[in-house]
């Protein structure tokens, strides 16, 4: 079964798809009528979603400073809040990461991928009863792309040159071709609001499955079912309550005492204890987030590729995943992409801990004396422990690492992207192009490894406008190899998203897009009594 049909079957099992819709899409995906019909019956019998009930989530990340304006969403708390009440033009497939229609019904690129035409869905109502029009979409995108905007999506949208309508279609003209344009519109800030939210950015009126009933920043948000939702495959519970819980122990206590149904950010150190609770289920999903040790390729002594290779071979990745992530993660291969990305280049040899090779390259580099590594607890959870572990594994290769613990306050200003060797983390990006453009393009502001290679930049731009997927995949492989073998990135591990729910929460979708079922957790699950 292909990924696409697997996903469709999953949607049926989750109760989110009618027979007609399933058959149409499954046959489009290449299945015969009989097979599709049989698959539908099997999947539908697997699990029937229950409607109703009051779902309570206890989430880390909320703060009194949270703004209700989607352009300014930052926290995990607001990420989920926004997904409850709003829709984007495009969503990403939870299993393949490919773009799937949401408020945009379909889209069509020009041959050079520089002009995109989106057909906007008809018959969708905002919570205030207004009909969604293409003008609302244009106003929303204009608000987020305004130079004066403080939108968190400004970065992903800056390639848009012009936003206009063509009848009831949306036409985006880009500065250059970008094959990923639809996926970029799935960014969680880009909720379509009536008149773009210009009149009242924080009104929280959208087209989503739930209407906001109350909101206290950092404390609590409540939602009621939107009876006029345009989709039937989501929004199973009647009402949602999201409580801000920034204390890890408080979240665990609330879940195990049955006060909430779902919590995020379970500490890997305590996850085994939580597992013992009979009513609790651990939900871990592979993610794109990764923990990194970064060297500036243009600063001595790290301007020597042999030293960089030595430091890469001296990293004991397996131990890192076990000790720092408690096993909830995957080893990294020194390029920032893993299999959760569309067009992931498979089959690149896994770099492993090899003290001999490390010693060889270290000797060849001619470096002597210790290497200063800066770290902090804010770099990533366990950042200091990881640095000390690394110090140990380097010692076996004859490399002396000096670990300097920096204060967490101001780490992102004074150390990260400023000092030549430090620990840090990266969250995922929606596409490979975005990840590389953000941190590996010569001119990127956040090129935190000072990786400046004109041939890499050229490949990146070429791949961006390449509509042929096979060609594009080859380009991404070449880029991955460059970063892996010549870059300043040591990537020991990709961290899983570790969440937990009580066992009566059903229908949880492990979405590779982002944490908490890509933020859709509250709209996708139902409660078994």
């Amino acid at each position: 079964m292909s990924n696409e049909t697997k996903y469709l079957a999953g949607r049926v099992t989750a109760g989110g798809m009618s027979r007609r819709e399933f058959m149409g899409r499954a046959m489009a995906a290449g299945l015969t009528l009989t097979v599709a019909s049989q698959l539908f019956t099997e999947s539908a019998a697997a699990q029937e979603p229950k409607r109703g009930g009051h779902l309570k989530l206890g989430l880390e990340g909320g703060a009194a400073t949270d703004s209700k304006d989607p352009a300014k969403f930052l926290s995990q708390f607001m990420f989920v809040v926004g997904r409850c009440w709003g829709d984007m033009l495009v969503e990403s497939d939870p299993h393949t990461g490919a773009p799937v229609p949401a408020l945009a019904e379909s889209w069509e690129p020009s041959a050079d991928a520089a002009t995109w035409t989106f057909t906007i869905r008809k018959g969708v109502q905002f919570h205030d009863g207004k009909e969604l029009t293409v003008d609302d979409v244009v106003a929303t995108l204009k608000r987020h792309t305004d130079e004066k905007s403080e939108s968190g999506a400004l970065g992903v949208l800056k390639s848009i040159k012009d936003i206009k309508t063509d009848g009831d279609k949306l036409v985006l003209t880009l500065n250059e071709g970008n094959a990923d344009m639809p996926l970029l519109l799935s960014d969680y800030h880009l909720i379509i609001q009536p008149n773009g939210g210009v009149d009242d950015p924080g009104a929280s009126i959208g087209t989503g499955p739930y209407k906001m009933a109350s909101f206290e920043p950092g404390v609590r948000a409540t939602f009621e079912k939107n009876p006029n939702d345009w989709r039937s495959d989501r929004g199973y519970v009647d009402s949602i309550e999201i409580i801000g819980m920034n204390d890890a122990t408080a979240r665990i206590a609330a879940l195990s005492s049955g006060q909430v149904h779902y919590i995020n950010r379970v500490d890997p150190k305590t996850v085994d204890l939580l597992k013992r609770a009979p009513t609790v289920e651990i939900l871990n999903t592979s993610g794109r987030g990764h923990y990194v040790f970064i060297m500036h390729c243009d600063t001595a002594p790290f301007d020597n590729n042999d030293l960089r290779l030595a430091l890469k071979y001296a990293m004991d990745r397996e131990t890192m995943v076990q000790r720092i992530l408690g096993g909830y993660g995957k080893v990294g291969n020194d390029f920032p992409i893993n299999e959760t990305y569309a067009l992931f280049p498979e089959g690149i040899e896994q770099r492993t801990y090899d003290p001999d090779k490390a010693a060889f390259h270290y000797k060849k580099s001619g470096h002597s004396g210790s290497v200063l590594l800066r770290t902090s607890e804010v770099a990533f959870p366990g950042g200091v422990d990881a640095a000390v572990l690394y110090q140990e594994s380097c010692k076996k290769a004859g490399i002396n690492i000096e670990v300097k613990r920096e204060p967490g306050d101001g780490y992102w200003t004074n150390v990260w992207n400023a000092k030549p060797f430090c620990t840090s983390y990266w969250g995922g990006r929606p596409t490979q192009d975005q990840m590389y453009s953000t941190a590996y393009l010569s001119t990127a502001d956040w090129n935190d490894t000072r990786f400046k290679r004109p041939e890499f930049d050229k490949l990146l731009y070429e791949a961006r406008s390449e509509l042929d997927e096979a060609k594009r995949k080859d380009m991404y492989r070449e880029m991955a190899m460059m970063v892996r073998d010549e870059g300043g990135l040591i990537l020991p591990m990709f961290n899983d998203f570790v969440n937990a729910a009580s066992k009566n929460v059903k229908g949880y979708v492990h979405d590779i897009g982002n944490d908490m079922s890509n933020g859709y957790v509250a709209t996708r699950v139902w409660l078994e009594s």
């Binding site: 009194a64 400073t65 403080e150 950092g218 409580i243 408080a250 006060q259 992102w412 956040w446």
Partner: protein, 340 residues
């Protein structure tokens, strides 16, 4: 606190033309204290402003964190006027603040006064509930301990209250959660309170945090009560009271307690101030939306208007409670009531 009590005790000063200060010592003290408080608040606001400025990273970059684009950072800076000199910004803020306009939060763009109104209400509610239980309990237990001094009840009271104060407050909180919320399911957790709650629901919600706070502040007040009363007990008039046939408990309540009240009031005031401003940890553990949590959130992103307003309110609570303690001590002390 004590030095002003001393300046009040000037029994030999019998000038014929009494100054205003001498005739109304209490009033003069209050006025003097109020003026001093205002000056102190100014100093506090300068300190906070300077402190937040000195922290690495400004609002725009910290607020956006790793997801900041240079353009977005520049926009925020310009929007909030962060590109102007520190002194200008401080006096601008001060100018608005003295007109009781604390501005809007940089992060959420909500009115600071409105936000603080809610949070302060929550904090005061928690502190009030804790005080209503802990103060009478502490003083009562202190008297009981004196009554049974060096006997079993005294020792039990001492050991238990010292044990409670020796444990970190978050640990007490976790223990209470573990037993009363998770194991027995008797208490409400999390203790989040919100507008649509009824009063009874609110009381239920704060039960565990209040219990934690009571355990934390109990020992301090109880021990001070015990010590103060014991020192009075060794004085001559207590012997007289005993000789004229008063029962021990009556002697403590009628004669010892009023004389011992000054130090007790001071300790109580200190603990009350702590209950309002020092309970961040308890708020976090119990997910309670109070002032402490609000201020910590604001400091994390350098949200200056909120930090300033919270800092001033905390300082004001401390100053006010200390002043109240001084005044009550003077009122309770007969020698100070009649300075001539």
């Amino acid at each position: 606190m004590s030095e002003s009590v001393d300046t009040g005790i000037l029994p030999d000063q019998k000038e014929p033309d009494l100054s205003y200060r001498d005739r109304f010592p209490l009033l003069a003290l209050i006025i003097q204290r109020l003026l001093l408080s205002v000056a102190l608040l100014f100093a506090v606001s300068v300190l906070i402003f300077g402190g937040v400025e000195a922290l690495p990273g400004d609002f725009a970059s910290t607020y956006l964190g790793q997801s900041a684009t240079p353009q977005a950072v520049a926009n925020i800076r310009k929007d909030l006027g962060l590109d102007r000199p520190v002194v200008t910004r401080y006096f601008e803020w001060l100018g608005n603040a003295v007109q009781s306009d604390f501005g809007t939060s940089w992060a959420s763009r909500n009115s600071v006064s409105e936000q603080i109104g809610k949070r302060l209400g929550n904090s005061l509610f928690l502190a009030f509930c804790a005080a209503m239980i802990s103060v009478p309990l502490a003083v009562g237990l202190g008297m009981l301990a004196v009554h049974f001094r060096n006997r079993i009840p005294d020792k039990i009271i001492n050991v238990l209250s010292l044990a409670a104060i020796s444990l970190p407050e978050f640990f007490i909180g976790y223990l209470l959660i573990l037993f009363f919320a998770v194991k027995f399911g008797m208490a409400t957790f999390p203790a989040t309170v919100y507008d649509s709650m009824t009063f009874v629901e609110r009381l239920k919600a704060v039960a565990l945090p209040v219990a934690t706070l009571v355990l934390v502040v109990l020992a301090h007040m109880m021990r001070m009560t015990r010590a103060a009363i014991l020192s009075v007990m060794s004085s001559a008039y207590m012997e007289t009271a005993e000789l004229k046939g008063l029962g021990a408990f009556r002697a403590i309540v009628r004669h010892a307690a009023p004389n011992a009240v000054a130090p007790i009031i001071n300790v109580v005031a200190l603990n009350l101030a702590y209950l309002v401003v020092g309970v961040v940890v308890v708020e976090v553990v119990f997910v309670y939306p109070g002032m402490g949590q609000y201020m910590v959130d604001a400091v994390t992103v350098r949200d200056m208007p909120v930090v300033q307003a919270c800092g001033l309110i905390f300082a004001a609570v401390y100053i006010l409670l200390n002043m109240l303690a001084d005044i009550l001590a003077i009122v309770a002390n007969p020698r100070l009531r009649h300075p001539r």
